[in-house]
Symmetry: C2
Subunit: 148 residues, 2 copies
């Protein structure tokens, strides 16, 4: 009987954990898609609104990691109105989460007219004190860059 | 009096949180340096021993994100005994942590004989049920790759 009760508790706990993880995954992927859609139409505010103040950021154009929302805002404002993505496919998004932090990873294929860009992406989200998820780390890199 | 007590509790809680964060940072950076040192001398086991089973992985040579320790072990075993880094500088490592997950980011400058490689790195660590930290996400990319 004791084993049965323990098994039931374990199953219930696993189910709750799995449900939590599923709902966090759905929420995080939804947030990313919304921000990405706005970015793809020239509006960086979708991301800027969900970046935490202490965000750290890598992209292939930067000489070093960029630290903090102020610097990232300055960078992103330079792109406002200049990005026009024809087609965007988020490939195989995956979320690994604990209660208050979650890692989203995916590959991305972008069409910009006739040009195709392939990206590797890692976004780390943290649940803030106001119960909202914000991105604290963004790492964008080119998939198999064709190096000189 | 009530305000004073609340203030003291808040200060104590902030101090404890800050101490926790400092000790997590120190631990995580130490783990990464140990694994890196072994990698730089041809031994991938330093990393393989601290990768979680559900690790996800990006590097600039992969067409897609690689999922799971089995696949990463296969990849890394191919490098065993073949890596010899002359000099390795971890630049500005930063850890952003909650109790059971932590994001480590840094730039890395490697000297391999006369060749210099510059990397952007994000490692996400998770505190496992056995109270050991393991890496669940690794993203390695080239800093400002010289693209054709």
């Amino acid at each position: 009987m004791r084993t049965l009760i323990l098994t039931i508790i374990l199953m219930a706990s696993t189910t709750i954990h799995s449900q939590n993880n599923d709902s966090i995954s759905k929420l995080i992927i939804g947030m990313e898609n919304s921000a990405l859609e706005r970015w793809n139409n020239g509006d960086p505010s979708g991301y800027l609104e969900i970046y935490a103040k202490d965000i750290v950021y890598f992209d292939p154009m930067m000489e070093h990691r960029l630290d903090g929302l102020d610097k990232l805002t300055e960078l992103y404002e330079g792109f406002r109105g200049k990005i026009h993505i024809t087609k965007c496919d988020m490939i195989n998004p995956k979320v690994q989460a604990v209660d208050n932090m979650a890692v989203l990873t995916f590959n991305l294929i972008l069409n910009i007219g006739d040009t195709v860009e392939k990206w590797n992406t890692t976004e780390v989200y943290r649940l803030e004190n106001d119960n909202k998820w914000k991105i604290i780390q963004a790492h964008w890199s080119l998939t198999k860059p064709d190096i000189k």
